[in-house]
Symmetry: C3
Subunit: 468 residues, 3 copies
């Protein structure tokens, strides 16, 4: 019995389905280009075995544990670590059984497709996960993980990953990346520059972060000029480890373009710890424009990921810390917010700024019209809660007519769940094949053009936009 339907995500009408399948067949085995994500470079540096099935599939996957929690399963009982180091479940099999008992909660979610894909194609499981099959699947996966062909590098190769980017703080010395490089292993694992800890005054330890950051770069944190020079320095350092992009996870898309004197004064203010919420927001906005200007010089592609209300539950933040599935999207404006940056550098053809959103109402109203005219702008793929069949379909339906296909940049898996990477790219390739087949079937694209566009969406645009 197969967990996966061979024609999954394709249109139901036979002729369209046939064309979607034919399009998909041309890219299904193409190498994976993963220009943005959160895999841990340590995996590839140390190449140690993954500890157990629960540690691989449950405990670190916020998509999974948030859904179980929403139906009353305590996070502790899934092994999610407490902030105070207090006791949580540590037995992998116990966690796995709990997961299996609640597996029906994931019906019709992308997690279900990703998990089934990994279960079937990576581990060769053929029975649907349930309370009944929990122990057998646990034993089977655990047995696999002990074997060399399931170590990170072997999976990297088996997944046919051409290049993967992780994401690091400017405070990171990139020692795992160095270790990978020095190991002589041929896998291409690159970093990306994510300066949130040193550009966001609301980030924990901001002032200390800035001091440490300037220290690493040998620059003086007391002056704005020193601080900017530290960025240039660290960006250059990251480039030596393959970085081709920076990434910015701000609460909003606000940008500013203050005069040097104003910007320097704002910097002093936020460093003093006395800046109010509006000033902290203004500083984040100024830094986006500064980063864009640096990109003009050093060629890093800029990614903006705005719009998450982080750590929504106060009690859960206190008990478990950040990133526990409690980030909630919120309404996001781009039109007014991006104007200062775009007035400054929007017409530069040497610059690439990739916009992401958690607010789908902006696809047709704001993002497609912006990306459909500004030379520097591109649209990132559907992100996070929208990295799904329906999410991708809405993205194409709502952006294509105004931004076209060539102002998009292919797929990002954006994940820390390593085994989901092939599954996620497969979903994206299937949805794009389905979308192109539908365009052809409704006379909006010629068939020969669809076959030309298919690999563009599957990998070429990602390589091009991210300069890979």
């Amino acid at each position: 019995m197969a967990l996966l339907d061979a024609d999954r995500l394709f249109p139901v009408e036979e002729r369209v389905r046939g064309l979607a399948r034919a399009l998909y067949d041309t890219v299904k085995d193409a190498p994976i280009v993963s220009p943005h994500g959160h895999t841990d470079p340590r995996w590839f540096a140390e190449n140690a075995a993954f500890p157990d099935p629960a540690q691989l599939f449950v405990t670190p996957d916020h998509y999974v544990f948030r859904m179980l929690h929403s139906q009353g399963v305590r996070l502790e009982s899934l092994g999610v670590p407490r902030a105070d180091g207090g006791p949580v479940e540590t037995d992998g099999r116990t966690i796995w059984r709990r997961f299996a008992e609640h597996f029906h909660l994931l019906r019709a979610t992308p997690s279900r497709i990703w998990l089934d894909h990994a279960f079937e194609t990576v581990f060769g499981l053929t029975e649907r996960l349930s309370a009944k099959t929990a122990d057998a699947s646990y034993d089977h996966i655990a047995e696999c993980l002990a074997r060399p062909e399931f170590r990170p590098r072997a999976l990297f190769e088996r997944f046919n990953i051409d290049v993967i980017a992780s994401t690091e703080s400017p405070l990171d010395e990139l020692k795992w990346h160095r270790m990978i490089r020095e190991s002589g292993w041929g896998g291409r694992v690159i970093t990306a520059y994510r300066p949130d800890p040193v550009v966001d005054p609301d980030f924990g330890g901001f002032v200390n972060n800035v001091e440490q950051f300037c220290g690493l770069a040998g620059e003086d944190p007391a002056s704005y000029a020193g601080y900017l020079a530290a960025h240039r320095n660290r960006r250059a350092y990251f480039k030596t480890f393959g970085a081709t992009s920076s990434d910015h996870g701000h609460p909003t898309a606000t940008t500013h373009n203050f005069s040097p004197a104003e910007a320097a004064a704002l910097y002093d203010r936020v460093l003093s710890g006395k800046a109010d919420a509006a000033e902290r927001e203004a500083f984040r906005g100024q830094m986006l424009t500064e980063m864009a200007k640096m990109s003009l010089d050093d060629g890093l592609v800029m990614q903006i990921h705005p719009g998450a209300f982080r750590n929504h539950s106060g009690p859960v933040l206190d008990r478990f810390g950040r990133d526990k599935g409690y980030d909630i999207p919120s309404r996001t404006d781009y039109v007014t917010a991006l104007k200062p940056l775009l007035d400054a550098v929007g017409e530069e053809t040497g610059l690439t700024v990739i916009l992401f959103t958690l607010d789908e109402t902006t696809y047709a109203r704001e993002l497609a019209p912006l990306a459909g005219v500004y030379p520097c702008l591109r649209l990132g793929p559907p992100w996070w809660f929208h990295d799904s069949f329906e999410g991708m379909w809405r993205f194409r339906q709502m952006t294509t007519e105004t931004a076209g296909l060539y102002n998009t940049v292919g797929f990002n898996d954006d994940t820390r769940a390593f085994c989901s990477i092939p599954a996620r790219h497969d979903v994206a390739r299937r949805v794009d094949a389905a979308f192109l087949a539908t365009l052809v079937a409704t006379g909006r694209l010629c068939e020969d053009e669809a076959f030309e566009v298919m690999p563009d969406l599957a990998h070429r645009l990602a390589r091009q936009a991210y300069r890979l």
Copy 2:
């Protein structure tokens, strides 16, 4: 000739249609669980005949008379009563003819499906309503209404209603509910606690309402403690008439969790009549959290129905009063608004808070992410203007991938149009069958799972969420 297509609302592709039909067939005759609505308990208490076809189908149905009015038909001419008691059309046949002449305006609306369903399945009509058929259909329905098998209790039984909830103000003594209970009739008609008149300072007669309310409960309105105790008292009273839920129709989803002293001061302020708009809004927000806390004790499920701009037209409000089809949805925020309540009680697994919306942009962006992580939250079905084929389809498409199927609560008919109840549940069952069949046909759900989910969506989740 049939008014209804036997395969209505199913997907058009033959295989998917067949599966949808098979799924639907398993629930089409299942009893109706109606956990939230606005039927009049007096109908079941007195069991009197409905007066005439126009009084049954036109004059009380805001979906119908608003559409006719939008094309220039005067509300008076449809028998809608004036606030000043001035003359309006009272002849049922004249109103019915006017309705029939304009019946084409309802093409492709849910009202058309509900009406045709009632005409065909309740009254056995076979000709489409039009100026030509107006008199015959009027005579036929009027003749039916005079017969005992068309009285409210008989229809209740014929509609196969297992349980239905009406909605009452805390000021209501529930005499009709008492009469139903004392009549010995077996129909299960329960109440729900809708405290808007005594928690919303903008509700007409608020201060008097609070006094009367505390009087009913034997509590002192002068103190916040007394006021809260009155709520506990009335909630308990409502529970003796079967209530398992409360319902809250606030303009926004704002919540607050003030300290007892702050809350008491706010109460004094609103009771003084001097509170400004922000204070009145703050009081409503505080009361949502108070109600949630009471639910922890007494187990009432909490429903929040925010986002309507009530009585939009000043002139129409003056001439006809409230609830004349002039309530217009508006943009609604949940992420910031609900945080105080969720920080207070969001992690409680003994609490159920069901969220509704008139702002569909929040489905994928806010509501599904919230319900997909907070244990207390569930998503109510598409509401009011969105209680329709397209509305239900968008709801499933935009919530399922993040909130799953099990954070939803089945269907609410939410109606005061008695004859539309079977029609509305039938639409919901058909759309869910169509949605599940589509998931199966596109490899997102296994067929055996779809057959398991179908009755969950049709009635099991409603029973479970509403504790029925």
Copy 3:
């Protein structure tokens, strides 16, 4: 080889496709009613040949040049004139080749369908535009344009245009319209009253405009009464050139209904040049209500087109001036914004106010509920970025269930690209046929009703709503 698929935009399932085709066949040759657009009346007055293919299809079409520019093509190189009169590309063939090389960027956009439609049906081209076919197509189109049957009046007749409205400023003396009328040519080209230059204090030269405007009308600009009288006078003048509508392109949908004294004071204030942003916005809002009141007297149908952030890029505005593809939609509120106007005149059955939006989130949430109850309101068709297959489909899906089909007004092409007019109406007719066929196939409309509705959507509702 054909550029166009005969069944384009129809549903893929065979039975539904067949019905869509049958519906479409009943209207495909119906005359074009174009009640709102931006064709240049000078074309029909002078009836001169269009200069060259690039001047016809590229340089004036912001949909086309914005897409090429978004991928780095300089506006100058497409012949877009600079504000300072500096040099830009003037060679038609060079521009055409550049366009042809980038034609793939338009894949799956409405521009591609419009262009292919014009290429095939107007010019008889059969090869897809590309670098390879650029010269041949240029030569062919250029040769056609030199012939009498490709002059504006001949094309007008060949396009089977029954009536077309252009849009003029109150400062316009309508000399081209006069010339058309005096020419004795039978084509019906009417004007529409677009008072933005004299009602929007942010419009360039506002104060001078008002003076000139009052001068044309023989009224005193020093008094609000004189200013309003000038409007009445110019509206009457426009009516003598066939105007049946006014049009209002405000940044928001804000309306106000101040007392005469307040309004007069506000007028003085904006005329003094000292009004702040809020006062300028208030004046625009007041003028919408004044225009609605004038419509009650003179019968002009009122169109409101709000929600564009005009000329978003400062540098591009400086270099090229207004209307260079840099208008970006933004979030738009209608519920609060329109209340003053609707409280004043919303119940008038003699008034027609047609609402447009660039913010699709308002379709189901605000616009359909408003148009589904206020007698004066109608919904304009999907506009601008949403004038497309997907845009039209979303419009029907999100408005029909609440506003019905009869609170919509058929199609507007709203274009200055003359050759795209038949293509645009063809797209609208196809999408409506597809939508109606889908309603029938899913049991939401009877087949005989669909055949009755089809011509309503194709032309009857436009004639009716615009009083043509």
